[in-house]
């Protein structure tokens, strides 16, 4: 009987949220401030408990993280977001491209990484279409081209983009997935056609108007890579940039981003969007605040909680060491 209590409570809460709670749920700035203050006070209480010798269970940490992540979704605060030089330099490089430039967008990620990469990819696609760039899409990950399709759909929802009446095959094309990892990039250096004989809709390469005259990287003005791992940005740098001299910008998951900074410093990348914060900055610099920018309050609250628990954990460790 005891075992059923937790599942029953969860079901009741879900039903209440689904059928009873008014929608959309939004906290006023005063309520939001009170909630954030309460979270802060609760963290102080946790610290006091730790100093008093009471250890905090891991589930308490989970609850704090859940609360700190969830409640900001309903808060009406705007986070001040500073544009970092690596995002600004990517934007500047894109701004220099004249209308009609051919941009290769490599979607090397899948749904598990979408929360981080999809917002920046959507912002990029919207920006590219607004700027009349011709976008050639491909993926070294099987689900990549499908994520690109989501970006296209998101971009077409924009009124300015929709008004352009963009045509598949003329303004953009999805070449689909190609197996072979970095060897695909290597082969594309000599002939795109060798790797993508047909696009994702099975149209032969030579029948696609946008690809007329596109033989290899020398016919591409800019490459943008969204990467969640391997093959990804490192392989694009090693082959496309250092061997074939393309101009490359990248959007990476936050786990991967620190490893890409040397390439940025070395001039092998013109710009870098690191994780959700990079995506938020890109949304703002292009003037299209979207999901990533909206998520930054949750992200920041969660970070504060994590830092607080790191401090609490260290206090607990020091006290334990003292006892010994």
């Amino acid at each position: 009987m005891k075992k059923l209590i937790a599942p029953v409570i969860i079901v009741v809460v879900i039903l209440l949220l689904y059928f009873v709670v008014p929608k959309p749920l939004e906290f006023s700035p005063v309520t939001s401030t009170i909630i954030l203050s309460l979270i802060g006070l609760a963290l102080v209480a946790m610290l006091i408990l730790t100093i008093a010798g009471k250890m905090i269970g891991r589930r308490t940490v989970f609850i704090f993280i859940a609360v700190a992540l969830t409640l900001p979704f309903m808060m009406n605060f705007k986070m001040p977001i500073r544009i970092t030089p690596e995002v600004q330099s990517l934007y500047d490089a894109l701004e220099q491209l004249p209308a009609g430039s051919k941009v290769l967008a490599a979607y090397d990620f899948d749904p598990p990484s979408a929360p981080e990469l999809q917002p920046m990819a959507d912002a990029f696609m919207t920006y590219a279409f607004k700027k009349d760039l011709r976008v050639i899409i491909m993926g070294l990950w099987p689900q990549g081209p499908q994520q690109a399709q989501l970006s296209i759909e998101a971009a077409l929802e924009d009124k300015e983009v929709a008004a352009k009446n963009l045509q598949y095959g003329v303004d953009y094309v999805n070449l689909g997935f190609q197996a072979g990892n970095e060897f695909v990039i290597q082969r594309m250096g000599s002939a795109f056609r060798g790797m993508f004989a047909r696009d994702s809709k099975d149209t032969p390469y030579d029948d696609i108007p946008l690809l007329k005259g596109v033989e290899n990287f020398s016919n591409i003005d800019f490459v943008m890579n969204f990467s969640a791992g391997k093959p990804g940005t490192q392989e694009w740098v090693q082959i496309a940039v250092d061997r074939f001299g393309v101009t490359l910008g990248a959007g990476n998951t936050a786990v991967q981003a620190p490893g890409m900074y040397p390439f940025l410093k070395g001039g092998q990348l013109v710009g870098l969007l690191g994780g959700m914060s990079g995506g938020a900055e890109f949304e703002l610099v292009t003037g299209e605040p979207g999901k990533a920018a909206g998520f930054m309050l949750s992200q920041s609250c969660a970070h504060v909680v994590v830092i607080a628990f790191i401090l609490i954990g260290n206090v607990a460790m020091l006290l334990a060491r003292k006892k010994k």
Partner: protein, 211 residues
């Protein structure tokens, strides 16, 4: 009830099912995990089957008559010999081909992109920064150069870490620790981002609590 609503409920059930592991291991978590792995594996299989075996092997290789693809096809079939104990040794041939090709490519790529270009940019940025005259830029590049040098010293074990050499190695380990700290910070952001993605789904697509 539309398809999207049913889909949202199934996705929500599976998301919450996975999250129940935070409390403790349970049967709902195991079911959700098995479905996730099964669906992912099935998706990969279907994608690779249609993109490679059908579109490359059948359409282009056989129907299109591009016989140069047969080299890859034969190596692929040889790889499958691994499934048999008797003729499993045949799979070593394509394996050795793959390892050889990758090693050859990587040796050159890593040496160029990850070693030579990095060394050049570390030094050239330092000299360039003096010409630029921006103090922040100069200090930043000095820190990068000092960090690179001392980090390398730390990993040099042929000489005992004593005296000036030992002090440099100690500075190196501090740089490495700061790097790990930055990487950890980014990792936290990454994991939080993934959780934010799921919570966004639960609140907006499923419960419709936020617009």
């Amino acid at each position: 009830m539309g398809e999207s609503v049913i889909g949202a409920w199934i996705a929500a059930f599976l998301t919450l099912g996975i999250l129940t592991f935070l409390y403790k291991d349970n049967v709902i978590y195991k079911i959700s995990e098995a479905i996730f792995i099964g669906v992912s594996a099935g998706y990969w299989f279907i994608t690779l089957f249609w993109d490679n075996l059908y579109r490359k092997f059948w359409v282009v290789g056989i129907e299109g008559g591009q016989w140069e693809l047969w080299g890859g096809i034969i190596l692929g079939v040889m790889m499958l010999c691994r499934l048999s104990r008797k003729i499993g040794w045949i799979a070593r041939w394509p394996m050795s081909f793959i390892i050889g090709a990758v090693a050859g490519l990587y040796m050159m790529l890593y040496f160029t992109s990850n070693a030579m270009v990095q060394i050049r940019s570390t030094i050239s940025n330092l000299t360039e920064s003096v010409n630029v005259g921006d103090p922040y830029y100069i200090i930043g590049n000095i820190v990068v150069a000092a960090g690179t040098f001392s980090g390398l010293v730390y990993f040099y074990f042929s000489k005992e870490h004593k005296g000036v050499f030992g002090a440099t190695a100690k500075v190196g380990i501090w740089f490495i620790m700061v790097t790990f700290g930055a990487a950890f910070g980014y990792t936290v952001m990454s994991r939080m981002s993934l959780l934010i993605g799921r919570i966004d789904f639960l609140l907006s697509d499923w419960l419709k609590l936020i617009s």
